[in-house]
């Protein structure tokens, strides 16, 4: 276990530098005028240039710039937003709580539905329930969030009036339910399909036959033996899901006006607020990496074959 953790940590450090370098290079490498790139089509005054240089050191060699950027990231100094004229770290701190609430709600909804439906269709593969589920997941899988979020808002918010159309900062769970459903839908199909095929595969495993031969009830065979093994790949999927949820949150929070991280980024992109975009994206990348690390450790905790390798 210890060796596994050390190896994963080293890998994570490597990926951290790789990924942040990638983001930084995508933004700044080989720009004719990196300052202009940061501010988009706005006119750029000399004093602004100086301020930007203090933050990004864009006149230094590229690697030195990158070094300043990483140091800023690690110390929480993310610069100032062009549009809001506030420290980006302050905006982030303000935006996190509601985004975390939204994401947790979404993950919870998705996991409960995906696992229960996935187990049901995995146990009876080829049955009516399984076939219906497969068709539904196919449709859901093909639903881009730019379709899902606005259409859900129109249908359930505006036309049916079941949910509030937009959400405020101190929104309760009920207000967040519709956007959380939208977000959850983005990951539900994959989770369900992985649960299903994992359960179906495990149902055929030899140890299930042993469990039956032990005279265990069907409930225990599936609940204790099949499920425990089937959930391992589903847990590892959460890492990937977080990436999908982050992307989805940009649109969903934008559509429902939820003042979270995604919403700020959404506004930043549309307003060509370069510093805000770079700062938010970088932090999201780090969050993504950390969650993936946690998921990997969880994976080892669940699978003794990894734990004791």
């Amino acid at each position: 276990m210890f060796r596994y953790i050390v190896r994963r940590l080293l890998q994570m450090v490597l990926t951290f530098f790789g990924a942040t370098f990638l983001v930084y290079a995508l933004m700044f490498a080989n720009q004719d005028d990196p300052y202009q790139a940061l501010v988009g089509e706005r006119p750029l005054s000399e004093s602004q240039r100086i301020a930007l240089n203090a933050q990004y050191h864009l006149d230094d060699p590229f690697l030195v710039q990158y070094w300043h950027y990483v140091r800023g990231l690690l110390t929480g100094d993310l610069g100032t937003s062009l549009t809001q004229r506030r420290p980006i770290s302050e905006m982030l701190a303000e935006a996190w709580p509601i985004t975390i609430k939204l994401a947790l709600l979404a993950v919870l909804i998705a996991a409960v539905i995906a696992v229960s439906a996935g187990v049901l269709s995995g146990i009876r593969r080829g049955g009516v329930f399984d076939n219906v589920t497969l068709v539904i997941t196919l449709i859901v899988l093909a639903m881009p969030v730019v379709v899902l979020a606005p259409v859900a808002q129109v249908v359930f918010g505006v036309q049916l009036g079941w949910f509030p159309v937009t959400v405020t900062r101190d929104a309760g769970l009920w207000d967040l339910l519709l956007p959380a459903l939208v977000l959850g839908t983005l990951v539900i199909a994959t989770e369900l399909r992985v649960t299903r095929s994992s359960v179906a595969e495990n149902m055929r495993a030899d140890y299930v036959r042993t469990a039956r031969a032990k005279g265990l009830t069907n409930k225990r065979v599936i609940g204790a033996h099949v499920l425990r093994n089937s959930l391992i790949p589903v847990i590892t999927l959460i890492g990937v899901d977080i990436g999908a949820l982050m992307s989805g949150a940009i649109i969903t929070e934008g559509v429902f006006n939820i003042p979270g991280v995604g919403f700020n980024l959404f506004r930043g992109i549309r307003a060509e607020d370069g510093p805000l975009v770079v700062g938010f994206v970088s932090v999201l990348v780090i969050v993504f990496l950390v969650i993936n690390l946690i998921v990997d450790l969880l994976y080892a905790a669940l699978d003794p074959r990894i734990r004791y390798e």
């Binding site: 495993a205 030899d206 140890y207 036959r209 042993t210 469990a211 039956r212 031969a213 032990k214 005279g215 265990l216 009830t217 225990r220 204790a224 033996h225 425990r228 093994n229 391992i232 669940l302 699978d303 003794p304 074959r305 004791y308």
Partner: protein, 332 residues
């Protein structure tokens, strides 16, 4: 359940099992008869694919339905037909009365639970013992099957044991609830030769101690000579010869048995080429008409290609064979 202590321990009558798949119906077992008494070792012998495991799993009632369907027959445990029991009562028979161990202990054990948990699970679900008490019993059992340092190894996971030790864990698990029938499906096939002997020795020993009936399934005629009392030879879903072990070795009555015997490598026949049965057993979706063995049989004549052999010819008390030409094979 009204078990009759005077009835035979386990009796299988005319069992039929078929698999209904997209590619057609495979009749895996077509009329198997077996009988087992306390303390007896019955070896079920035959090439792979002849229906041994399916028979065993049908006795246990752990075949997946679908695709498997037991279409006919009886499985009598102390006079009670298990096939007619409601699932709940049948479940109580498993592990309590009839236990089973499998060929590949690594895949037969659940990789994510410690061996102690998997053994203890039996005590907890069937006997209602506490987690701690169940674990203590598990340690005792591991001790009994002679796993060194059982106290510490009880928390280890299956992949941390060697092949032989894993099979010992399986045996410990099967013995947990003191069953009086143990079905061992190729318990040594996946193991090294030296380990094979140890496991067979252990099985024989626990059987003697507990006076259990043991059904030993194998495709290796060499393994059974020392341990079996009775042998049932299976071919293409049927028992083709059924006899005490001495008679089988001394005078096989079925050409298939004879061919199997001749394929055993023997020290006293050094230098003589090994006589392996030519050809393969038939695909069960496509069994030849007449006697299913005829394409490979040295004794086959026209009648074998036309008519199936009489199902069970009583040669002597407790001796049965199914062939048109038993006398010729016996050489009488």
């Amino acid at each position: 359940m009204n078990f009759d202590p005077n009835a035979p321990l386990l009796q299988v009558n005319d069992m039929h099992v078929e698999f209904r798949t997209r590619d057609g119906v495979a009749r895996a077992v077509t009329g198997v008869n077996l009988i087992l008494r306390p303390g007896e070792t019955l070896a079920v012998l035959g090439e792979s694919g002849c229906g041994k495991s399916v028979t065993a799993q049908a006795i246990m009632g752990i075949l997946d339905t679908p695709p498997a369907h037991v279409t006919k027959g009886e499985v009598l445990y102390r006079g009670v037909d298990l096939l007619k029991l409601p699932e709940d009562e049948r479940r109580q028979v498993r592990a309590n009365r009839i236990a089973m161990i499998f060929q590949d202990a690594l895949s037969a054990l659940n990789p994510v639970y410690s061996v102690g948990y998997q053994i203890g699970e039996l005590f907890r679900t069937h006997r209602g013992l506490s987690r701690q008490e169940a674990k203590r019993r598990a340690v005792d059992l591991l001790d009994q099957v002679r796993i060194p340092d059982a106290k510490n190894r009880v928390d280890d996971y299956p992949h941390q044991f060697s092949g032989g030790m894993r099979q010992r864990v399986m045996i410990a698990m099967a013995l947990a609830l003191d069953p009086d029938v143990l079905i061992a499906d190729e318990p040594t096939t996946a193991l090294d030769v030296t380990v094979q002997a140890q496991i067979m020795g252990l099985l024989a020993e626990v059987q003697r101690e507990r006076n259990m009936g043991l059904v030993l399934i194998t495709h290796d005629m060499g393994v059974v000579a020392d341990v079996a009392d009775t042998i049932a030879v299976m071919y293409a879903g049927k028992v083709v010869e059924y006899a005490p072990v001495y008679d089988i070795y001394a005078h096989p009555a079925h050409p298939y048995t004879k061919a199997l015997l001749e394929s055993i490598p023997r020290l006293d026949f050094k230098g003589r080429g090994l006589n392996v049965i030519r050809g393969l057993p038939p695909a069960l979706t496509d069994v030849p008409r007449g006697c299913p063995f005829h394409p490979r049989c040295a004794y086959a004549r026209d009648v074998c290609r036309q008519d199936p052999p009489p199902p069970a010819y009583q040669i002597a008390p407790r001796r049965i064979a199914s062939c048109h030409f038993i006398r010729e094979v016996l050489g009488v």
